[in-house]
């Protein structure tokens, strides 16, 4: 920070540790911030679209992640610059809200910043640029609404939903079997969706993965998969028409919470104590048997003695099941979680058509499948894949697809992908720009130009000549007055996205534009950066 001197040449110390603080202000600050934002966008640019590339990221403790999901990449990059952090948060908030389009939003923000830089060089006031952008974003959002289409789906006709999820998955590494995964995602969401309230609680969808097998083996289970096995190796591996007791109490003698001591001073007393303990075990198992349970799932562990007894009485049991899983099992099977044996009644048992233990390949790992449940409001997606990275990436991709399906249930409007929506917006924003007097007109026009960046990046990533392709498509859109033309990334032969069935959700797209504008505005508004220069 520049020092101020008084009349006698002594410096003022106005701020604490003034000498150690760096200060950037005015245009310099804006330029610095813009270049930081652009740098982040540049990293993600190549990940956009169906032919986008993946990034490999290594965390400090050696874990490797391979992904193409914008939010994940940025999260793992661990950026330090404040403006870059804003971009990270931008992508994260798109992830929270929509779940998809996390790369696109950052690329768009980068493009907007790049355009703003040019305008700043011309001497346009940053706030005027920001205001112009805001107007333009509103125009674009309205236009999207205008070109969007409603599409009907029902529980029986899920094809449109599947198509949209396929668009999302096509940019991921799993696009080999996008059809299968998209169907899984849609069915899973529909299973847990509350269509009446248009609410989907994604927590009811459990995504579980296991290394081994092929991606094609990924399946949707109308029930729960628990990464646990029977407590005793000799217990039956397959139970049909299971009645499940879901317990949160251990198979142990109950312990009072108050501190207690038992004075044992005679052999007889010790004997009684011992007998009583055994009686507890006996009673517990008997109680379970009495109410008709054929399977016990317990949140806690149990004694070897109890285990033996259970085995002996032919009552299969699973121990150490986590709280969340326990809850999901309870929801799926329609059972109630029972906190103590006294409360166990026949009505509180959950019912499942089939419970089986499945082992995989040659490994000793086994998992417990609880299927054909009374109430299939909780489902599990079980992912198989060649290696751990692959499974993690599939999980992330499926999360995106699940979010897309959820968004469509909330709002069933779609726009067409492949950059067609952006191009169409760009055309309409540019046309509208001329109507605005004042400096904002320039900003609005720049906004339109920035919108072209997304199709351009798409084309570039596909190995097409970006400018040729984008201009060709743009002119086609205007000539035929059809907003469905986009970039033919997969070389299908037509660039009509409607025919290619490339859909994106309307809210996802709108959100992208609004969020990107918001962050760009924030960055443009900063004209003073004060940092401890030790950074």
């Amino acid at each position: 920070m520049a020092l101020a001197f008084d009349e006698y040449g002594r410096p003022f110390i106005i701020l604490k540790e003034q000498e150690q603080k760096a200060r950037l202000r005015g245009l310099e600050a804006q330029k610095g911030n813009i270049s930081a934002g652009k740098a982040v966008a540049r990293i993600l640019r190549t990940s956009l679209g169906p032919k986008g590339m993946d990034k490999m990221l290594q965390s400090p403790d050696g874990d490797v992640i391979v992904t193409n999901d914008g939010a994940t990449i940025l999260e793992q990059m661990d950026v330090d610059n404040q403006i870059a952090k804003l971009m990270v948060e931008l992508s994260r908030s798109q992830d929270y809200e929509i779940g998809d389009g996390t790369t696109g939003v950052v690329v768009l923000a980068g493009a907007l910043l790049e355009q703003a830089e040019k305008l700043l060089e011309r001497g346009i006031h940053p706030i005027r640029i920001a205001e112009g952008y805001e107007m333009a974003s509103r125009l674009a959002v309205d236009h999207l609404e205008h070109i969007s289409q409603n599409f009907e789906f029902s529980v029986t006709n899920i094809e449109p939903l599947v198509q949209t999820c396929m668009t999302t998955l096509s940019s991921k590494i799993v696009n080999r079997c996008k059809r299968a995964l998209a169907e899984i995602a849609v069915k899973a969401v529909l299973a847990v969706a509350d269509l009446e309230r248009k609410d989907v609680n994604l927590e009811l969808i459990k995504v579980e993965g296991k290394v081994g097998g092929k991606l094609e083996d990924t399946e949707l289970i109308y029930g729960i998969v628990v990464d646990k096995d029977m407590s005793h190796p000799q217990m039956p591996k397959r139970i049909e028409e299971a009645k499940i007791a879901i317990l949160t109490c251990p198979f142990e003698p109950p312990k009072p919470k108050t501190k207690h001591k038992i004075d044992i001073d005679t052999v007889e007393k010790f004997q009684t104590l011992r007998q009583q303990e055994q009686k507890y075990f006996d009673d517990m198992v008997q109680k379970c048997k009495d109410v008709g349970a054929t399977l016990v799932i317990c949140q806690w562990g149990f004694d070897d003695e109890a285990n033996h007894l259970l085995m002996h009485r032919n009552l299969p049991a699973v121990r150490w099941v986590g709280g969340v899983e326990l809850e999901l099992i309870a929801i799926a099977t329609g059972g109630r979680i029972v906190p103590r044996f006294l409360d166990l009644t026949a009505e509180k048992l959950g019912k499942a058509g089939l419970v089986r233990e499945k082992s995989f390949g040659t490994t000793k790992d086994r998992m417990l499948y609880i299927e054909h449940c009374a109430n299939s409001r909780a489902v599990t997606i079980f992912i198989r894949g060649g290696n751990k990275m692959m499974i993690d990436e599939t999980k992330r991709s499926l999360h995106d697809a699940l979010c897309v399906a959820r968004n469509l249930i909330r709002n069933n409007s779609i726009v067409y992908g492949g950059g067609s929506a952006e191009l169409s917006c760009s055309i309409s924003v540019e046309a509208a720009a001329d109507k605005y007097p004042g400096v904002e007109q320039y900003a609005i026009r720049s906004f339109a130009e920035a919108l072209d960046f997304i199709p351009m990046a798409l084309a570039e990533n596909c190995g097409l000549s970006p400018i040729d392709t984008v201009t060709a498509v743009k002119s086609q859109q205007i000539k035929e007055n059809n907003p469905f033309y986009g970039i033919d990334c997969n070389d299908v032969g037509t660039n009509n996205m409607k025919e290619q069935n490339v859909f994106e959700t309307l809210i996802g797209k709108q959100q992208q534009i609004l969020l990107a504008t918001q962050v760009v505005k924030m960055i443009l508004k900063i004209d003073d950066v004060i940092t401890p220069s030790a950074y």
């Binding site: 809200e97 508004k525 401890p532």
Partner: protein
């Protein structure tokens, strides 16, 4: 300096830095001007934001004068006074924090040449005080009352005030949207002074327009145990029980110990404990409440018990939220489950657990006593929402102020220009030095429109001349800077309104601060710890407001610390 040839008398500890006299006054003024320069650019709808890192690596992006001043971490003793007035403006009226710093800086700047020319500071101070009281009376005279209007009308007027405040902030683009939200929220809590009844919840994600106002309470889903998902998530007209007890299986007495001599009694102890908790739960259920909230934990046992009986429960609700629920639903927080009567149960129209962004929120809507409101803010980044929260806080304060002291003045620099004109005119009637001082005070007031223009990139001299001409013509009292075209416009007609109290307070505080700084002619700086000294000096100066008296014992006063 004083000890040239005489034998030196060592009065202060070695290394103590003293400076006094005219030079000191000038030096203090310079420091204050430097600080005012730091916030200068944040003024007005075209004002910029500051990004400030602190030592811990936290970042704040803000446009709020008080926030910036606080984060700048100023140690210069005189400049600290400016921080204090910004703070006081913030706590008093909530808005206009940049204005007050800027005005104080400008008053001092105008005073500097006079001091250099040898005018006694006390003369300046006296004139400044006169000028400020004249200005305040003029504001009161010019202010327009909004009293006696119908509720609808009042609402739109208040929304205008809130919109003016918000226009300089990051969320300025959506000012109408937020202004009406703020007005609704403030009107909802009525005349109650408890500001914490307006809750602001921040949820990252989404865009600003997704922010919404809940006419009641909303809070994030608390930590829940297994079984929670089996509880119903929506009620219509539920009864709500508010507790401040743990519903968990636990030892009743902390240090109690039970000694058993007969192992057969073991079960009875276990049963006794279970009975205690079951008894509590049973009482909750019998009360007829459908929603049970507790500030303390609600354990897994209780969660499942309630789930079995179709009751919703949430434990570990924060104190604040629980108070708000109590105020909203008309319930009372209980510390025991004995004797639950209907009167202490709250109720609301609709309760729902809803997904907001990535979080699930418990939302109580349509509360009968309606004395609370919750604003759920959405936005792209954490810093963004933080800044939005600060901006809304300003707007809420403004609306509350306007509601109480329901007079408003035109903004956009109009009132400042009018005051300036009035003071200049008045100055002409005064004989003596005071005329000059009041004139310079009047000139200092012009800093607000000037800075508005500068920040917007307009030619400030040009606009200012137009404004002067308009105001001098006698009929343009409401004319201020038109931020969109770079010309001048009737602020009143364009709905750029500020509550009068903001301006009054700003002028008062700025004048006080500048008079205080002018009256100091000696600083004694103890060499030891700089930061501690800074504070000591500032507070000592606060005490030494008397001026001349301070001069005499300044040195001693300091050293007492």
């Amino acid at each position: 300096m004083a000890a040239m040839l005489q034998p030196q008398i060592i009065l202060l500890k070695e290394g103590t830095d003293t400076s006094q006299g005219k030079a000191q006054v000038v030096s203090n003024i310079n420091a204050c001007t430097a600080v005012a320069d730091a916030v200068r650019t944040t003024l007005g709808p075209r004002g910029m934001d500051k990004l400030i890192h602190d030592d811990k690596g936290n970042t704040t992006i803000s446009n709020d004068g008080a926030t910036i001043m606080k984060l700048l971490d100023i140690v210069h003793p005189a400049a600290k006074i400016l921080v204090d007035i910004a703070k006081s403006q913030d706590s008093e009226v909530g808005d206009g924090t940049t204005t007050v710093v800027l005005l104080a800086g400008e008053f001092l700047k105008e005073a500097k040449p006079f001091i250099e020319d040898g005018v006694h500071p006390q003369n300046l101070i006296r004139s400044y005080r006169t000028a400020s009281s004249l200005a305040i009376n003029k504001i009161k005279e010019l202010a327009v009352s909004i009293e006696g209007k119908s509720l609808e009308e009042k609402k739109s007027l208040l929304a205008k005030c809130a919109a003016t405040t918000l226009s300089s902030k990051l969320i300025g683009g959506e000012k109408e949207f937020f202004a009406s939200m703020v007005v609704d929220a403030v009107l909802a809590i009525g005349n109650d002074d408890r500001l914490n009844l307006i809750g602001i919840k921040k949820v990252p994600g989404g865009n600003m327009r997704d922010s919404f106002l809940v006419n009641g309470v909303a809070f994030k889903k608390t930590f829940s145990y297994a079984g929670f998902e089996q509880q119903p998530k929506k009620f219509v007209n539920p009864k709500i029980l508010l507790l401040n007890i743990e519903l968990e299986l636990k030892s009743e007495k902390e240090n109690a110990e039970i000694r058993l001599s007969d192992p057969l009694q073991y079960q009875s102890i276990v049963d006794a404990e279970w009975n205690i908790i079951y008894d509590k739960l049973d009482k909750c259920v019998k009360s007829g409440a459908k929603i049970v909230l507790s500030r303390l934990a609600i354990g897994d046992l209780a969660t499942q018990y309630f789930a079995d009986r179709d009751i919703f429960c949430a434990g570990r609700v924060t104190e604040e939220d629980l108070q708000r629920v109590a105020a909203a639903t008309g319930g009372t927080v209980q510390t025991s489950v004995n004797n639950i009567i209907d009167e202490i149960l709250g109720s609301c129209e609709v309760f729902e657990e809803r997904q907001v962004g990535n979080e699930r929120f418990n939302i109580f809507n349509g509360c009968p006593s309606g004395q609370t409101a919750t604003i759920v803010l959405r936005g792209g980044a954490d810093q963004f929402i933080d800044e939005a929260e600060r901006s809304l806080h300003d707007a809420i304060m403004i609306v509350r102020r306007a509601l109480k002291n329901s007079t408003i003045v035109p903004g956009g620099g109009a009132i400042d220009m009018e005051l300036s004109r009035y003071l200049r005119q008045h100055a002409r009637t005064i004989a003596g030095k005071s005329q000059l001082f009041i004139n310079s005070y009047a000139k200092a007031l012009e800093v607000i429109p000037r800075q508005l223009c500068d920040n917007a990139g307009f030619d400030s001299t040009d606009v200012l001349n137009k404004l002067r001409q308009k105001h001098a013509s006698g009929e343009g009292a409401n004319y201020g800077v038109d931020i969109n075209t770079g010309g001048i416009a009737d602020s009143f007609a364009n709905f750029v309104w500020e509550p009068a109290v903001v301006k009054i307070n700003a002028i008062n505080a700025a004048t006080e601060a500048s008079c205080l700084i002018l009256s100091v002619d000696e600083t004694v700086k103890n060499p030891k710890s700089e930061s501690a000294q800074g504070e000591a000096a500032a507070s000592a100066m606060g005490r030494g407001r008397g001026g001349p008296a301070f001069r005499g014992r300044g040195g001693r006063g300091m050293r007492r610390r």
